[in-house]
Symmetry: C2
Subunit: 460 residues, 2 copies
């Protein structure tokens, strides 16, 4: 297997374009909604069969939640082993009436396939599977060793993947992990991502009197849980956007020179971003730059705050209860358990009557930009996508990449195949067919370029 075979593979992929689109549509027609389980077992079984059909040692592995789909082929002794991670579950499709075509009746319009899961994540991991099929149709053996892990609970926060990786470490002896998920860059450019922010969610519940009170009869003497939350929250982040929870910044690793250089090289069309958001200005002055704040800065977001009267006009009520829901985006090397413990201690210190409920989360992940696999992937993506990828130190959102970098201890990369406007988690989710096809090519190129290398020295 040599890199010079790539043009022939790409020609095959182009020739089979319609067949691949049709097969993706057939796959997307199966719901697999992790929030309530519809179609999960059926789709997991489909995927196991597809992997077995390609000669993979494949099976469904039970977890405390929905099963993991697992498969491997050890075709290339002495060559690297790549683990392709993806997730076969999708978000619930509602609101249904906002879809132009039904979410599980895949429909092609304007060169895109519209369906729930088209971008997130079926269209992307299906491209990986088709890349395997294209290679195995052309030759007996894959150019590198391949492990496939497709999760069924990514859309509900991957609650069992860490346990799975710890328990099944022997099955997961990869040299690197590549995840095709999330969108490409807003500029349309391909990207190679080295990390993700983590996320930790929690809730604050404040209580006042045991019933709503008249603000005149008790205002000034009975506590107001909305004021309790306002004053508590104001101690957690100041008006300049700096998080002021004690010890919050303890473990944060500042960006490396490579990361700073990569950030500086990313294209940014700020007027376009602001027009898209309908904003006249962004958040508090962004002295460290848009991308640094989005990728390498932690955040504390109030996701929701509710208490008291919410109808029209005014009502002179002093409410009995209020709830705030928050998430924190974590950056390397913050840890979910440590940060949630610090928030709990902060709440206990500033508002001991407020109930703190931790919802857990995902640790952040960071692979060094000088990883020996980075250059290989960069060349492979350039071949598959037809242009060099932008190098992105981290994505703003979260994926369970930490299970690879922190638990397995191997480098992990995100190589998205979906268009930026994939509308994931939203009505009219879609994937641009050209992106899907370039994804298959990129999968082929990644395995081909990896197969052209010996295992890098220092690999476990």
């Amino acid at each position: 297997m040599i890199v010079s075979d790539l043009p022939a593979h790409f020609a095959t992929i182009d020739a089979r374009r319609d067949e691949f689109v049709q097969r993706l549509c057939a796959y997307l027609a199966h719901p697999s909604i992790s929030a309530h389980g519809e179609g999960i077992a059926e789709v997991a079984a489909l995927l196991v069969a597809q992997l077995q059909g390609m000669g993979f040692d494949a099976r469904s592995i039970a977890t405390a939640g929905w099963p993991m789909v697992y498969g491997r082929r050890d075709d290339a002794p002495g060559k690297p082993t790549i683990l392709f991670y993806g997730h076969y579950d999708v978000q619930p499709p509602d609101p249904l009436d906002a879809w132009l075509s039904p979410p599980f009746a895949p429909t092609i319009r304007d060169g895109r396939i519209f369906a729930r899961g088209a971008g997130d994540n079926k269209g992307q991991h299906f491209a990986q599977l088709l890349a395997l099929e294209v290679l195995l149709a052309a030759q007996e053996r894959l150019p590198c060793n391949v492990i496939v892990v497709l999760e069924g609970e990514e859309e509900v926060g991957s609650p069992h993947i860490a346990h799975f990786v710890r328990e099944q470490r022997a099955l997961l002896d990869a040299d690197l992990v590549v995840t095709a998920d999330g969108p490409m860059h807003a500029s349309g450019r391909a990207i190679l991502e080295f990390g993700v922010r983590g996320v930790a969610s929690f809730e604050l519940r404040a209580r006042g009197a045991q019933r709503d009170l008249h603000s005149g009869n008790f205002g000034g003497v009975a506590p107001n849980p909305l004021w309790t939350l306002v004053h508590l929250l104001a101690t957690m982040k100041d008006a300049n956007g700096t998080i002021t929870i004690d010890g919050f910044h303890d473990h944060i690793v500042p960006p490396s020179d490579l990361e700073r250089a990569a950030l500086a090289a990313l294209p940014l069309d700020l007027p376009q971003v602001m027009a898209d958001l309908g904003l006249a200005q962004l958040d508090v002055p962004i002295e460290r730059g848009y991308y640094e704040r989005l990728m390498l800065y932690p955040t504390l977001t109030i996701n929701g705050l509710h208490g008291g009267y919410g109808g029209t006009g005014s009502k002179t009520v002093l409410p009995s209860a209020a709830v705030a829901k928050c998430d924190i985006r974590l950056v390397a090397n913050q840890r979910v358990d440590d940060i949630l413990a610090k928030v709990a201690a902060h709440v206990q210190r500033h508002a001991p009557g407020v109930e703190f409920i931790a919802y857990g989360g995902m640790d952040p992940s960071k692979t060094p930009m000088d990883s020996p696999f980075a250059a290989i992937l960069e060349r492979a993506i350039t071949a598959g996508q037809g242009e060099a990828p932008l190098l992105v130190p981290a994505m703003g959102g979260s994926l369970p990449e930490y299970v690879w970098t922190k638990i397995l201890g191997v480098p992990a990369f995100v190589v998205p195949y979906a268009n930026f406007d994939e509308a994931n988690h939203a009505p009219n989710e879609n994937i641009v067919i050209d992106c899907f096809i370039r994804g298959i090519k990129t999968g082929v190129a990644i395995m081909t370029y990896l197969g052209a290398e010996a295992r890098p020295s220092g690999c476990p």
Copy 2:
């Protein structure tokens, strides 16, 4: 007419107790809901007829909203003229399923009449009207001059009474105003109230991006309207409960020595208050005392705050909009228009992107505790209630008393006849029949004691 006639009048009232209860029940069976107008015209007509039946020059006077019921008898030249204010409208009765008997099917249980309006305010102003009837049944002329004003919009904030009083000043040439509304003291004692706190309501609307965003994809770069409101509100009141709006305290008149002495004399069962509210502690340390905070301190209450996700569990959303509704309780001599302008300026200075919506309100009212009418009312209440009233500098809630003290420029007093647990604005509203009967006696006593006096010197 002399004070020594009172025992005979009281005996008459006791003898007619069942008849009076039956007639109040008949009155309470008529809905008169100002929020949507049901029964308003019918009840106003009933009241005009009742006043005319007693020889009053009475009529319904149109306003831009529901009509005022007005009547007068000038029976006693040289004697004071008292204006009895009340309101014939009631709160909507919902939630209906929480009533043990239907809200407009008055029902007697445990010595109480249960019906919407029993305490607030039909049972109380009906007692005033029966007091007139008792006096006129015993003698041809009332002992003092009487003006009756019954409003139809008190439960929707009395939006037109100020205009009415300004326009109809010639009809309202009273020496004092007495309002029987609100409850007696928690201890069960009768009270004589000299003022009310005012109220001013407003809303704050914050906006972020034009749609909800993913907290990972935009957290740290797109503004969060919930944080905007939290930080803005935190600049308006500090964690110790001190209102920090610029100029807010400019016009506040400190309590007089008489007021401080009255506050100190009020009974307070703090453990009972806290048990009733289900609270282990009250609001921020009450260094100035429960009653001073409740009656003579301004408040800033967040009535409601809503934005973003409010369902179960967590959702990593960065919301696009948030709304806070607030009311301020004003104390003498703050003014609604001045305070709302100061809040607007504060919002403009601290969060210029936040929309400020003023809902208006009612000015506070304060009658000096050394008013020459205070001692007369105190003696009359003692006679009617069978015990001396507690002297209360102000009630925590709001009534449109300012139209009498500020626009008419006469002393105004609140003399509640209803039991403390009348459940006004709530299901199972009620009046204790003994309280209703003592209210009739108190009305008779007030007019009788006023008739025993010449008009105090200095009256207009």
